[in-house]
Amino acid sequence: MNKTATALDFKSATLHTLRAVLHTSDTVELIAALNQRMREAGSFYEHESVVLDATTLTQAPNWAALVAAMRAAQLHPIGVHAAANLQDDAWQTAGLAPLELSASRTAAPAATPDPTDTGKTGQPRAADPGTAAETLIVRQPLRSGQRIYARGCDLIVLGMVSQGAEVIADGHIHVYGPLRGKAMAGARGNAQAMILTTCFEPELLAIAGVYRVFETQTPDSLHKQGARIELDGETLRIRALTG
C-alpha cells in the first residue's frame, strides 16, 4: 500500500443520537414547540446531535428556519429522514444529509446482529422517554465474530450464541439455545442482572463487571443444561434454570 493511502482509514460507526419526530409542517408551531421543550428540559438536550424524522409529513416545513432555530437552541441537526419529495435545496445549504432511520420500533424485526467488526454494537431502538425500556430480541443465531449490545435494556436471543460471538446487555440476557460464546449482563453496573440460558456451555460470563472464564468445560452438572447465573457478592453463582 502506498504512503498516502495509510494516512486515513474509513471505518464504520454506529451513532447514538436524538430523533426529533415532526408532527406538523407548520414551521412556526414547530419552533414554538421546540423552544418550549428546550426550556422544560433545561440543558439536558443541549449539544446533542439530532436527526429529524419527517416520515409522517406530506408537506415540507421551512427547513432553513427550523434548522436555524435548532442551532440557536444548542442542538446539532445532522440529517433528515423524509419522503423524497420533501427534499429541497435548503437541506444542502443547511448542511443536512438525507438519512434512513429504521422503521418504527414495534414493527421492526430484531436489530440485525452486527456482522464483521467486533468493534461495532447493535443498537436497540431508542425508547420514548416515559415508557419502559424495551427488550432487544434477536431471532437468528449469533455466529462467531458477531456482537450485539442491548443498550439500556434486556436482551433475548432466540437461537444459539456461537463460540466467538458476544452478547452484552445493560439488563438481563436470555438465550433460548446453546450459549457457547460470551455473555455480559448488567454491562453498566446493574448487579441484579441475570443471565439465563437453556443450554449452558459458555466461554465467558460476566455480570456487572464480575466475570468468569470457562477455559475447558463448564461445570459438569450443568453442562448443556438450563442454567441461571446471578451475582452473589463478588462471585457468580450458577444454578439450574428450574428448581
Binding site: 440485525t112 443465531p141 455466529r143 463460540q163
Partner: protein, 271 residues
C-alpha cells in the same frame, strides 16, 4: 429466473473450487444451463480445475471494466455444452470487483437465460468473498471436519445473515447448506476428526452432503476434470447426490460410516 449460488467457507483449502466445479457440472449434467464464476481475482484456479486454462483470453474483471463483452469472456466447458466458465483475472487487484460491476454482470447472465449462477468465493472475508456472497440466493458452506474450518464457516454464516443483499433488503434469508468435504469416516471413528453430528450441532444448518476424502480429487484436479466426472468414484457419486438434494430430491447419506475391512480385504490388501 436464475438462482445465484455462492460456494464459500472462510477458510482456504477446504474444497471450494473443487465443489464449485463439480456442483456446476452436476447442474449442467441435469440439463440446467449453468455458469460458474471465479471470484478469486489474483489467484485464479477454477480454470485449471475445469481444464480450460489455455482458453482464457478475457476475464471477469475485463467484463466489469468494459474491456470485453460477456460473450467474449465466457468459456464453454469442454464436456458439457450448457456449462460456461467466467474466469478470474490473474493480474488484477481484488479491488477491481465493484458491487455495481458484479451486479451488472449477474444481471446480464440472468438475461442470457442461465438458470444457475455459481459463484466460487475466495477464502477469507475480504472484498472478493463479500462480493461473491452479497448477491447470493443460496450458499453452499464448504467445511472440513476440523475445528478451525468449522469456526470460519460459522463466521461466514454470520456475514451471510447480516451482510448479504437479501439481509439488507429484509427479504427471505439466504438458503444455507452445509457441505462437509474431506470426510474420513475411519479417522472420525478414531476421534481424529470431528463427527458429522458434532459439526451439525455447532453450525445448525441443513446438511446437503458429505464428500469423502479421496485421492481421486487430486488426480481429477491435476487432469482438469471436475471430480463429478470420475466414473464410479465415491466422490463423484457424493457430488451427484449433493446436486440431486439441491434440486429437491431425497437421497440417503452415503460414505459416512466406517466399515472395518473384512478378512478377505485384509488378506488380499486392496486400497
Amino acid at each position: 429466473m436464475s438462482r445465484i449460488v455462492v460456494v464459500t467457507s472462510g477458510k482456504g483449502g477446504v474444497g471450494k473450487t473443487t465443489t464449485s466445479a463439480s456442483f456446476s457440472a452436476g447442474l449442467a449434467l441435469r440439463g440446467h444451463k449453468t455458469v460458474v464464476i471465479d471470484f478469486d481475482v489474483g489467484l485464479r484456479n477454477l480454470d485449471l480445475i475445469m481444464g480450460c486454462e489455455r482458453r482464457v483470453v478475457y476475464d471477469f474483471v475485463n467484463v466489469i471494466q468494459g474491456d470485453a463483452t460477456l460473450n467474449q469472456a465466457l468459456i464453454r466447458d469442454k464436456q458439457l455444452d450448457n456449462l460456461y466458465i467466467l474466469p478470474a483475472s490473474q493480474t488484477r487487484d481484488k479491488d477491481a470487483l465493484t458491487r455495481e460491476g458484479v451486479e451488472k454482470v449477474l444481471e446480464d447472465l440472468a438475461a442470457m437465460d442461465f438458470e444457475y449462477i455459481v459463484c466460487d468465493s475466495p477464502a477469507g472475508i475480504e472484498t472478493g468473498a463479500i462480493m461473491a456472497a452479497y448477491f447470493a440466493d443460496d450458499a453452499l458452506v464448504v467445511t472440513n471436519p476440523e475445528v478451525s474450518s468449522v469456526r470460519d464457516s460459522d463466521r461466514i454464516l454470520g456475514i451471510l445473515s447480516a451482510k448479504s443483499r437479501r439481509a439488507e433488503r429484509g427479504e427471505q434469508p439466504v438458503q444455507e447448506h452445509l457441505l462437509l468435504t474431506r470426510y474420513n469416516p475411519k479417522r472420525v471413528s478414531e476421534g481424529e476428526m470431528l463427527s458429522l453430528r458434532d459439526i451439525e450441532d455447532i453450525l445448525r444448518i441443513r446438511l446437503i452432503g458429505v464428500i469423502p476424502e479421496s485421492e481421486s480429487v487430486l488426480q481429477a484436479s491435476n487432469q482438469g476434470i471436475p471430480a463429478i466426472h470420475l466414473k464410479d468414484s465415491d466422490v463423484a457419486q457424493a457430488y451427484a447426490d449433493v446436486v440431486a438434494r439441491y434440486l429437491g430430491e431425497e437421497k440417503p447419506l452415503r460414505f459416512v460410516d466406517y466399515e472395518k475391512p473384512g478378512l478377505f480385504k485384509r488378506l488380499f490388501g486392496s486400497k
